[in-house]
C-alpha cells in the first residue's frame, strides 16, 4: 500500500528517541532526586532530555535534507499491522483489513517535523535555564522533562503518522502531556482546574474527531493517507453527505485542539503551566495539530473536485473559514483587556491560529470549487503562517518567560521570600524593562512585529497571503458567506497591531510601575540563546518568503530565490504576468495601514513612554521606546470611558464563555450525575433491597402461622385433607 518510493525506515525511529528516553529520566529522577550530580551535571534530567532532543534534531535535519528537493507526492511506508480484522458487508466478508502504523512524508509533514524538533530542542534548552533555577521546581523537574519528552514523541509521531488513526493516537498523547504539564504545579487549585478544563474541552472535540474517523473509515475502508488521497471517486463513488459529516466532525476535533471558538476556553487557562510548556505546547506545536489535521483534509477536497464532484464539500470549507474568522476577531478583542502577559499571548495564539484556519478554509474552498492553483497558494500561505507563527510565538513565550522569571527573582530579592499578593506576570507591575532586559526586549519586539505583520518581517508575508486569499474567495467565487471571515480578519489585523504593541509597550516602555520592576536583571543562564536564534528565525521570514516557501510547503516545489517577485506580489498585488489587481492593492495597504500603523500608534499613545531618566535601552529597541514616548506625548488620550464600559467588562469576563460552560457543568452535568447515582441507589438497588426486606417480612408473617398450638396444627391437617380432596376433585 505504500507508494513506490520507500522511505528509509529510520525515519520512524524519530518519535521513539524521546519515547525511550523519558522512563530513564523519570526513574532516575524518582530515585536520585536531590543528589548533587543529578542537580548540577544532569540538570535534573534536562541534559538527558536535551541530548535526546539533539539527536532528534539531527535526525530531522537529515530527513529534511534528504527530502527537501522536488517532491510532489507524499511517501508512505507501512511499518506494522497494528490490528488486523475482517469486515462483513452485505456482499460478503472482506479479509485482512488492518489499521496499521506507518510513516508518511511530504512537504507538510517535513515542515512540521522541522518546526517541532527545532522548537523542542530550543525550548528544552530554555527550560534548563528557566525551570532549574526556580526553587518551586525542586524535586519535580525530572517529571517536567519526562513529560516534555513524551510530548515531543507525540508531536513527532503525529506529524509522521501515515493515517488518521495514528494521527489521532499521537494527538491524544499530546493531549495527555498537555494535561500533565498544565497541572505541573498541581498544588495550585487554579492549575489543577485548568488542566482538567484543557483535557476535557479537547476531549469533547476528540470524541467528534473519533466519530469522524470512524465514519471516514467506513467511507474509504481505510484511514491511510495513501489510500484516501489517491481515491478514485469515479470508480468508487462515496456518500458525499457522509463524507461531509465526517470532515465536519473531524474539524470539531481540530477546533478543540487548536482552541477555536467555541472550544477555545481552555487555552488561556492553560497558561497556568510553566512558561516553556506554554511556549512549546500551547503556542508552537500542539495547537498546530488541529491545523495539521485540516491541512491533511486538503487532498480530499482536491480529489473530489478533480473527480467531478465540484463544490460538494464547499460547505465544510465555509464552516472552517467562518469559525476561523469569528475566533480571530473574538480572541483579538479579549486580548485588548488582558493584563497578564501570558494571557495576552494566549489570546494572540488563538487569534493567529484562527487566521490559519481561515486560510485553510479558503484553500479548501478553492479546492472544492476546482481551483487547485489558488487553493495551493492559500494552503501554502496558511502553512507559512503556521511556520512563522510557531517561531514567533515560541519565542514570544520564551521571552515572556524570561520577563516573568526575572521579575520573580527581583521580587524575591526585594521582598526576601514574601511573595503574597504579587503577580510576576501582571503587566501593570512592569514597565520600563527595555533597559534591563535587552535581549528579551529585542526578541519580544521582533516576535510582536512578526505577529502584527509589520512589513518585511516574518508574519507579514503569510498573513498578507491569507487575507488576500480569503477576500479572493469571497469576492470572486460567489462565496458570499466568506465575507464574514474576510471582514473579520481584516479588522483583526488592526486589532492585532494594537494588542501586541500594547503588550510590548506596557512591559518594556515607560517608567517602572513597581519597585520590583526597577530591580530586574537579565542574568539567568541558558535563557538567551534560544531567544537569539529565534529572533533571527523570525526576522528571516523575508528569506523564506523569497525562497518561495509557500510553493514548497504546498506543492513540494524546490526552493528558488526570487525576492523581487515576492515583493511585487506582496506590496503591489502583482501576479506573475505583472498585472496589478487594484482591489487587492487597496486591500493590502488597508491591512498594512491597520495592523502596522493605526493599531500600534493607538497602543503607543496609551501605553508608551520613555524610560526612566538615565536609562537606555539596547539600540535595537531604543527607537521603539523613543517613538512611543513621542507618540504618547502628542496623542495621549483618556480611554477610561471605554475601559470601564460594559463591553470591556464583557471582554474581561472572556465574553462569558467560561461562565456559560461552568454553568453547564455545575448546574447540568454534575446534577445529572448525582441524580443518576441517587436513582441507582434508591431506584435500581432499592428494588433489590425491597425484594430482600419484602421476603424478610414475608418470612416473619409466614412464621407467625406456625402458632405453636397443637390444635391449630391438627386443624391444618384436617384442612389439608380437605384441600387434597378439593384439589383432586377439582382436577377430575
Amino acid at each position: 500500500m505504500g507508494s513506490e518510493i520507500s522511505v528509509e525506515f529510520w525515519v520512524a525511529t524519530i518519535p521513539f528517541v524521546p519515547l525511550l528516553t523519558f522512563p530513564i529520566i523519570l526513574f532516575l529522577g524518582q530515585y536520585f532526586n536531590g543528589k548533587d550530580w543529578w542537580k548540577n551535571i544532569l540538570k535534573e534530567g534536562g541534559s538527558i532530555s536535551l541530548m535526546s532532543m539533539g539527536i532528534v534534531l539531527i535526525l530531522t535535519s537529515m530527513v529534511v535534507a534528504q527530502f527537501i528537493g522536488e517532491m510532489h507526492n507524499g511517501q508512505g511506508l507501512d511499518i506494522i499491522d497494528w490490528i488486523t480484522f475482517d469486515v462483513l458487508r452485505s456482499d460478503g466478508m472482506t479479509n485482512g483489513v488492518n489499521l496499521g502504523f506507518g510513516i508518511y512524508i511530504d512537504h507538510i509533514s517535513l515542515m512540521l517535523l522541522f518546526v517541532a524538533s527545532f522548537l523542542c530542542f530550543l525550548i528544552n534548552w530554555f527550560s534548563i535555564g528557566y525551570m532549574n533555577t526556580d526553587k518551586i521546581n525542586d524535586n519535580r523537574n525530572h517529571r517536567f522533562y519526562a513529560e516534555f519528552l513524551i510530548f515531543c514523541s507525540g508531536m513527532l509521531g503525529m506529524v509522521l503518522a501515515d493515517n488518521f488513526l495514528w494521527l489521532f493516537i499521537f494527538w491524544e498523547i499530546m493531549g495527555l502531556c498537555s494535561y500533565l504539564l498544565i497541572g505541573f504545579y498541581y498544588e495550585k487549585p487554579s492549575a489543577a482546574a485548568a488542566a482538567k478544563k484543557a483535557f476535557l474541552t479537547t476531549r469533547v472535540g476528540d470524541v467528534f474527531l473519533m466519530i469522524g474517523l470512524i465514519i471516514m473509515w467506513n467511507i474509504y475502508g481505510s484511514l491511510e493517507f495513501d489510500i484516501i488521497f489517491g481515491w478514485d471517486y469515479f470508480t468508487n463513488p462515496v456518500d458525499m453527505t457522509l463524507l461531509k459529516t465526517s470532515l465536519i466532525l473531524m474539524f470539531i476535533g481540530a477546533v478543540g485542539k487548536s482552541a477555536q471558538f467555541p472550544l477555545h476556553v481552555w487555552l488561556p487557562d492553560a497558561m497556568e503551566g510553566p512558561t516553556p510548556v506554554s511556549a512549546l505546547i500551547h503556542a508552537a506545536t500542539m495547537v498546530n495539530a488541529g491545523l495539521y489535521l485540516v491541512a491533511r483534509m486538503f487532498p480530499i477536497f482536491i480529489g473530489t473536485a478533480g473527480d467531478g464532484l465540484v463544490g460538494e464539500l464547499a460547505d465544510v470549507a465555509i464552516i472552517i473559514a467562518i469559525i476561523g474568522g469569528i475566533t480571530a476577531f473574538m480572541a483579538a478583542g479579549i486580548a485588548f483587556v488582558q493584563n497578564d502577559i501570558k494571557k495576552v499571548l494566549a489570546y494572540s495564539t488563538m487569534s493567529q491560529l484562527a487566521y490559519i484556519f481561515t486560510g485553510l478554509g479558503a484553500a479548501l474552498w478553492f479546492a472544492s470549487k476546482g481551483k487547485p492553483e489558488l487553493a495551493l497558494f492559500a494552503l501554502g500561505a496558511s502553512l507559512f503562517h503556521l511556520f512563522n507563527h510557531a517561531m514567533a510565538k515560541g519565542m514570544l513565550f520564551m521571552a515572556s518567560g524570561s520577563v516573568i522569571h526575572e521579575m520573580h527573582h527581583a521580587h524575591h530579592h526585594i521582598s526576601h521570600g514574601e511573595h503574597e499578593g504579587f503577580d510576576a506576570q501582571d503587566m501593570t507591575n512592569m514597565g520600563g524593562l527595555a533597559s534591563k532586559l535587552p535581549i528579551t526586549s529585542t526578541a519580544m519586539a521582533a516576535g510582536s512585529m512578526s505577529i502584527i505583520g509589520i512589513p518585511l518581517i516574518g508574519g507579514f508575508w503569510s498573513k498578507e497571503g491569507i487575507i488576500a486569499k480569503i477576500w479572493k474567495a469571497a469576492i470572486y467565487d460567489g462565496g458570499y458567506l466568506l465575507f464574514i471571515p474576510a471582514i473579520l480578519l481584516l479588522i483583526s489585523a488592526g486589532m492585532t497591531g494594537f494588542y501586541m504593541s500594547r503588550m510590548w509597550f506596557m512591559t518594556f516602555a515607560g517608567k517602572p510601575k513597581t519597585k520590583v520592576a526597577e530591580h530586574v536583571h537579565e542574568e539567568t543562564p541558558w535563557i538567551k540563546f534560544p531567544l537569539v536564534i529565534l529572533t533571527f528565525m523570525t526576522l528571516g521570514g523575508i528569506v523564506f518568503a523569497s525562497l518561495h516557501f509557500v510553493s514548497w510547503v504546498s506543492e513540494g516545489h524546490a526552493f528558488h530565490y526570487d525576492l523581487i517577485h515576492e515583493m511585487k506580489h506582496a506590496f503591489l498585488a502583482m501576479d506573475k504576468e505583472g498585472v496589478i489587481d487594484s482591489t487587492f492593492l487597496i486591500l493590502t495597504w488597508a491591512t498594512i495601514g491597520l495592523s502596522s500603523i493605526i493599531g500600534p500608534i493607538i497602543a503607543m499613545s496609551l501605553y508608551g513612554g520613555n524610560l526612566k531618566d538615565g536609562e537606555n535601552a539596547i539600540p535595537t529597541v531604543s527607537w521603539l521606546v523613543k517613538l512611543s514616548g513621542m507618540v504618547k506625548n502628542r496623542w495621549e488620550f483618556d480611554n477610561s470611558t471605554l475601559a470601564n464600559s460594559g463591553l470591556a467588562e464583557a471582554l474581561r469576563r472572556r465574553l462569558y464563555f467560561d461562565d456559560f460552560y461552568d454553568w453547564i457543568c455545575i448546574k447540568l452535568i454534575v446534577p445529572i450525575g448525582i441524580g443518576a447515582a441517587l436513582f441507582d441507589k434508591k431506584g435500581v438497588d432499592g428494588v433489590i433491597k425491597g425484594i430482600e426486606s419484602g421476603s424478610q417480612s414475608a418470612s416473619t408473617w409466614i412464621r407467625k402461622l406456625t402458632t405453636g398450638s397443637a390444635r391449630d396444627y391438627i386443624m391444618m391437617v384436617a384442612l389439608g385433607s380437605l384441600i387434597f380432596v378439593g384439589l383432586i376433585w377439582g382436577m377430575v
Binding site: 462483513l88 458487508r89 498544588e187 482538567k196 470512524i214 447515582a677 433489590i688
Partner: protein, 569 residues
C-alpha cells in the same frame, strides 16, 4: 519514604529471579520447550485448588498463636504455585504463538484437548481445551493471580488469604478451559466460594451484606443458565454411542458442531423459538455476571467491600466470565437468536455504557466509581457483540482482556489508597501527588488507561467496537462517544480532587488521624507497575492477541452467523 517500604524477604527475590530467569530462557532459547502433553491443563486447575486446600488445611491445624510464624511460608508457597501456573500458561501461550497457526485453533478447534469420562451416567466429562477465545483469558488469569498476591502481600491473615487467591485462580482457569457444560457450570459456581470468603473476611464495614448479595445475586442468575444448560442437554438427540443414562452428553464441542451442521444445511438448530428461549436463559446468567444495567447493583457493593486482591480478581477476571460465556455458548450455538436479539442487546449495552458513566459522575466513593466504570466498560463488550461484526467481536474480546488488565490496576490503586489513607472518599483530601507520588502516579496511569487513552490497552478495544458499531447502527455511535467524554470528566474531576491541589493548606482525610500520609509499599508498587507495563505493552502491540481474537471472531461469524446476518439484511 524509606521506612515505609516493606522489607521483602530474600525469598521474594529468589522466586522473582527464578521466574525472570525461566521466562528469559523460555523466550531466548531457539528450541522452545514445546508443551506436548495435552494434560497440561490439569495442573493449571488442580495445582492451585489442591495446593490452596492443603495450605489452608495446614494453616487451620496450626494454633492461633503460632500462625504468624507460618505466614511467610504460606505466602511464598502461594506465590510459588501461582508462578508455576503462570509459567506453564506462558509456555503454552508462546508455544501456540510460535508453533501453531492461529487458523488451526480458531472457532471450535482446540489445543490441549482432553476428554475423560467423569460422571459417566449423565454424560458429564472432564473435557478441556484451549482456543483463541480462552487462551488470552487463561493467561490473564494466570498472570493476575501472582500480581494480586504481590500487590496485596501484606494483607491480614495471609495464611488463608493467599491460598484463597490461588484457589480463585484455579477455579477461574477451570471455567475458561472447560468444554463441557457440566464442568463449566461447576467451576462457574465454584468461583463464588473463594470470592465470598475473600469479601466476608477481609472486606470493609458492610462486607457481610456485600458478600451475601454478591453470592446470591450471581447464583440466582446462573441457575437460570443452569436451566438453559439442562434444557439444551435434553434437546439433544439421544444416542446409543453415549454411555449416559439419558443418552446425551454435555459436550460443548459436539453441540457447537451440531449447530454448525444445521447452519451449513441452512436450518435453524433446534428451531427458532427454542433458540430464543435458550439464548435468553443463558444470557440471563451471563448478563448479570457481566454485569449490565439494571442487574449491576451487586457489583458496586461487592467491590467497595471486597479487599484489594478480591476486587482485583473480581473485576479483572470474574466479570469477564460473563463475556466469555456469551461467546462460548449463546453466540456460538444460537446464531439465529443472536441475530434476532441484536437490537435488545445493543440497547442494553448502550444503557449500561451510558448510564454507568453518569452514575460514576455522581459517586463520591472511589471504589464505587471504579466499579460503575466497570459496568460502563462492560457495556462496550455488549455493543461489540451486538455489532455482529468480526471487528466488533474481536474488539469485545480484546476489551475483556484489556479491561482485565486495567481494572485490577484501578482496584489495586483504590485499595492502596484505602490502605494508606483509610478512606475511599473522593475529595476527602488534596495533593496526593505530594504525599504519595508513586500512588498518585499509578492512580493517574490507571485512570488514564480506563478512560481510553490511546496506546493503552483499552483504546484498541474501544476503537474496534466503535468502528464495528457504526457499521451496524450508524449514528448510535454518538452515545458511546458522549460516554467517552463523560468518562474523561469523572476521572479528571476525581483526579483534580484527589491527586492535585492542596498547596499551602494541605488537606488530608480525617480518617488519617494523626498518621503521616505514606506512599505505597514496594510490593504494591511492583504489582501495580507490572500491570502498568502490561497495559502499555498491549496498548502498543495489541496484535499479540488481537490477531488470534480477530481470527476467532471471523471464523465464528463465517461459520455460524453469516447466513443469519445476511438473511436479516
Amino acid at each position: 519514604m524509606a521506612e515505609n517500604k516493606t522489607k521483602l524477604n530474600d525469598g521474594m527475590y529468589v522466586i522473582g529471579g527464578l521466574f525472570i530467569a525461566i521466562s528469559v530462557l523460555m523466550f531466548a532459547s531457539p528450541n522452545m520447550p514445546s508443551m506436548e502433553n495435552d494434560w497440561v491443563t490439569l495442573p493449571l486447575i488442580g495445582l492451585p485448588i489442591l495446593g490452596s486446600l492443603l495450605l489452608m488445611g495446614f494453616a487451620s491445624a496450626v494454633p492461633a498463636w503460632r500462625k504468624e510464624s507460618i505466614s511467610e511460608t504460606i505466602k511464598y508457597a502461594s506465590l510459588g504455585i501461582a508462578l508455576i501456573v503462570l509459567i506453564i500458561t506462558t509456555l503454552m501461550m508462546t508455544d501456540i504463538l510460535m508453533n501453531v497457526h492461529w487458523a488451526n485453533i480458531t472457532f471450535n478447534q482446540y489445543m490441549y484437548e482432553v476428554e475423560y469420562n467423569w460422571i459417566n451416567s449423565i454424560g458429564a466429562e472432564w473435557h478441556v481445551g484451549i482456543d483463541g477465545l480462552s487462551m488470552p483469558m487463561v493467561w490473564l488469569t494466570a498472570l493476575l493471580v501472582p500480581i494480586t498476591i504481590i500487590t496485596t502481600w501484606n494483607e491480614k491473615k495471609p495464611w488463608y488469604y493467599h491460598p484463597l487467591l490461588i484457589l480463585m485462580g484455579g477455579c477461574l482457569i477451570g471455567v475458561f478451559v472447560s468444554l463441557d457444560f457440566f464442568m463449566f457450570y461447576v467451576f462457574w459456581e465454584l468461583t463464588l466460594v473463594p470470592m465470598f470468603f475473600l469479601i466476608l473476611n477481609w472486606g470493609g464495614k458492610e462486607r457481610k451484606y456485600a458478600a451475601q448479595k454478591f453470592f446470591i445475586y450471581t447464583f440466582t442468575a446462573s441457575i437460570l443458565m443452569l436451566l438453559g444448560i439442562i434444557t439444551l442437554y435434553l434437546l439433544q438427540d439421544p444416542s446409543t454411542a453415549n454411555a449416559s443414562i439419558t443418552g446425551r452428553t454435555f459436550d460443548m464441542h459436539d453441540m457447537i458442531q451440531n449447530a454448525q451442521e444445521q447452519v451449513i444445511l441452512g436450518n435453524i438448530w433446534l428451531g427458532p423459538g427454542v433458540q430464543k428461549l435458550l439464548f435468553v436463559l443463558f444470557m440471563a446468567g451471563f448478563l448479570v455476571k457481566l454485569p449490565v444495567v439494571p442487574f449491576h447493583t451487586w457489583l458496586p457493593d461487592a467491590h467497595v467491600q471486597a479487599p484489594t486482591g478480591g476486587s482485583m480478581l473480581l473485576a479483572g477476571v470474574m466479570l469477564k466470565m460473563g463475556a466469555y460465556g456469551m461467546f462460548r455458548i449463546p453466540i456460538s450455538m444460537f446464531p439465529y437468536a443472536l441475530v434476532e436479539f441484536q437490537m435488545p442487546l445493543m440497547i442494553i449495552g448502550m444503557i449500561s455504557l451510558f448510564y454507568g458513566a453518569w452514575v460514576c459522575l455522581g459517586q463520591t466513593n472511589l471504589k464505587r466509581m471504579v466499579a460503575y466504570s466497570s459496568v460502563s466498560h462492560m457495556g462496550i463488550i455488549l455493543l461489540g457483540i451486538a455489532s455482529l461484526q468480526p471487528l466488533g467481536f474481536a474488539g469485545a474480546i480484546f476489551m475483556m482482556f484489556a479491561h482485565g488488565l486495567i481494572s485490577p490496576m484501578l482496584f489495586g490503586v483504590a485499595g492502596a489508597f484505602k490502605h494508606h489513607y483509610h478512606t475511599l472518599e473522593i475529595g476527602s483530601m488534596r495533593g496526593m501527588a505530594k504525599h504519595s507520588p508513586w500512588l498518585a502516579g499509578n492512580m493517574m496511569f490507571s485512570w488514564m488507561g480506563s478512560l481510553g487513552l490511546p496506546l493503552l490497552a483499552g483504546f484498541v478495544a474501544e476503537v474496534a467496537v466503535l468502528i464495528a458499531l457504526w457499521f451496524e447502527f450508524g449514528w448510535w455511535v454518538i452515545i458511546p462517544g458522549i460516554t467517552l467524554a463523560i468518562t474523561a470528566a469523572y476521572y479528571l474531576w476525581s483526579m483534580q480532587r484527589t491527586i492535585f491541589e492542596g498547596g499551602e493548606n494541605t488537606e488530608l482525610p480525617k480518617s488519617l488521624g494523626d498518621e503521616k500520609p505514606r506512599d505505597i509499599a514496594l510490593s504494591e508498587n511492583i504489582g501495580l507497575i507490572s500491570l502498568a507495563i502490561l497495559i502499555v505493552i498491549f496498548g502498543i502491540f495489541p496484535f499479540i492477541f488481537f490477531e488470534m481474537m480477530s481470527g476467532y471472531s471471523s471464523e465464528l461469524i463465517k461459520q455460524m452467523l453469516m447466513d443469519d446476518i445476511m438473511r436479516r439484511w
